[in-house]
Amino acid sequence: MRQDWRIIGLFIGGVLVLGTIVGGPLLYSIKLSFYTAASFIDPPQWVGLGNYVKVLSEPLFWGSLLNGVTIAISAIVLQVVLGVTIALVLNRQFVGQTVVRALSIVPYFLPTVVACLITQWILDPNYGLLKSVFASFGYGMFDWGGNSTSAKATIVLVSVWIWTPFVVTCVLAGLQSIPAQLYEAARVDGAGVMKQFWHVTLPGLRSVLIVVILLRGIWMFNKFDVIWLLTKGGPLNETETLPTLAYRKAFLEFDLGGGAAVATISFLMLASIILIYLRVFPIDEAKQGR
């Protein structure tokens, strides 16, 4: 009986903490999206769905959504492909395996600010590292921040740099849980390296990849720091995404209601995509299938 109380106590504690730091702000932000206010001090004015109508009719909103999706998908694809490849290499037996495995996770420890500053220092068109390298060959420097594609690519590359180690770590753990006998059975069955990868490795990584892609998807879709630090949504809103748009509206354009509406729409979209994703790729069944 005492244990029951302990469990209930812990449960209530958890709910209270979650409610205070997640549920409260979430509900407050949803509430705010039905009002108009220039700051948190001003008394908000009820406008109903006005903010939503305004936001949804702006081309910038749809552009930001498309940018966010483009950046998220490119980053996830690269992170997963690179992560799986690196994990496959690290999973082999070689001298110094432990050291290399440990080193491979180092970028993950790097604070995002540091990673972004280093990137800027390398890429800066006026005094960057690449500029001097190019100059020594007699070439000029390309302005990466002035072009939509290269600005997006930079954001994607930095995200891949920082977050691929996370994928590597998860996939490496997944690889080690695939029984060696399955590979032996496939070899006896006549499968070569590619067929072994397709019929043994990938199915064995299924549940890990489902979770990794889900988590990376959520984090990339909500990514703010890398974009803000590198491009602030520029050039000309070409790297603007829903999180930066919400921030811009709320804190730079003093339109708290509009920002809250963007955030709420973004939250609802992400939640529905996650629900559909989990319906199509159920984590439980993947587990049983192993």
């Binding site: 032996e184 059975a185 496939a186 070899r187 006896v188 069955d189 006549g190 019929h199 064995g204 299938g289």
Partner: protein
């Protein structure tokens, strides 16, 4: 060693003896340090598993978890680009001979251990290989299922006439299944021969104790002539031996007698066995006791009255006695064995197969 076409050979030995390594070398999963493997006269030593035309059944079944039973069995054929019709025919025929027809659309996680083992067998069967390699295929099954699957494998072998190599650590499995048994220890073949050959004429003390359950009693002692008779003495115990049967080259010997070859006797001219522990297993009564201070295990016909502390008389039937050199462990029996490797032909080095020729 040579294995004939259609033979079922069992590699048996304690864990770490090299039996699985040998099988894996035959499959091409482990490298051969030296020596050759020939299948049907073809040197396959350097070939990858897929080019050896072998099929293997693994201890943990190694079924592809995401594939259905049908696809598990069909995979090897698909990789070899067998026409779909042929795949269908072979899988269904194997499924029907293993009673798997109703399970073809299931995934491995929906099967019991016994069913998974049958699918693993089926996967080997559809390939129609030159040699079946079975690596402890029964050890993950419960006792009842193990016996049934063992019978199924024996039936399958009889029906297909396929060449099979079966690895196990269980001597009962080896005895019941094998046309021929190869007993291994520390990477060396101790003896190879028919099950009864190994039971009746073990080449050394290791084989003698490994085959048979409960295991053979071994008593260390000295060999000497007493008048005209050949006698083994150990403490107060003195056992007469048939003089022509054993070499007298060594003095320090080990006498062996199987528990089931110790017979109850009425007369006091026999040996006196002091009963220490009685185990009733139904049809028989197992007794652990002492004869002149030597620990002895005996198996008698059921005797409900036997109690610890009882003193009973027993005979050690002379023609069933074994004698081994205490130094080398080798048998001192004169007309050694009928088996080809009577003296425990040695393989060189840990788990290195000198030459395995299969005429498939």
């Amino acid at each position: 060693m040579d294995i004939a076409d259609g033979e079922l050979v069992v590699f048996v030995g304690p864990s770490g003896c090299g039996k699985s390594t040998t099988l894996r070398m035959l499959a091409g999963l482990d490298d051969v340090t030296f020596g050759k493997i020939l299948i049907d006269g073809r040197d396959v030593t350097a070939l990858p598993p897929k080019d050896r035309n072998i099929a293997m059944v693994f201890q943990n079944y190694a079924l592809y978890p995401q594939k259905t039973v049908f696809e598990n069995m069909a995979f090897g054929l698909r990789v070899r680009r067998t026409p779909q019709q042929e795949i269908d025919r072979r899988v269904r025929s194997a499924a029907s001979s293993l009673g798997l027809e109703a399970l073809l659309e299931r995934k491995p996680r929906q099967l019991s251990g016994g069913q998974m083992q049958r699918v693993a067998l089926g996967r080997a069967l559809v390939r129609d290989p030159d040699v079946f390699l079975l690596d402890e295929p029964l050890s993950n099954l419960d006792a009842k299922l193990r016996v049934r699957t063992r019978e199924e494998i024996a039936t399958l072998h009889a029906r297909l006439g396929a060449t099979m190599i079966f690895v196990t650590h269980d001597q009962v499995e080896a005895m019941t299944l094998g046309d021929r048994i190869v007993i291994m220890r520390d990477g060396f073949i101790q003896q190879a021969g028919s099950p009864l050959d190994l039971y009746d004429r073990p080449a050394n003390a290791f084989v003698a104790t490994f085959i048979g359950s409960p295991e053979m009693n071994l008593i260390d002692g000295g060999l000497m002539r007493d008048g005209g008779a050949l006698v083994m003495r150990s403490g107060g115990l003195s056992v007469n031996l048939p003089a022509q049967s054993f070499s007298e080259a060594e003095r320090d010997v080990t006498l062996g007698i199987r528990p089931e070859h110790i017979e109850r006797a009425e007369t006091s001219t026999a040996f006196e066995l002091v009963v220490g522990l009685v185990e009733q297993i139904g049809a028989q009564t197992y007794v652990l006791g002492k004869i002149d201070g030597n620990k002895i295990r005996a198996v008698f016909a059921r005797d409900d009255a036997l109690r610890a502390g009882d003193r009973i008389f027993v005979n050690l039937s002379q023609e069933k006695l074994h004698l081994f050199s205490r130094e080398s462990g080798k048998t001192l029996r004169r007309t050694s064995t009928k088996g080809e490797n009577g003296n425990g032909r040695e393989l060189h080095g840990q788990a290195q197969l000198r030459r395995a020729e299969f005429q498939g």
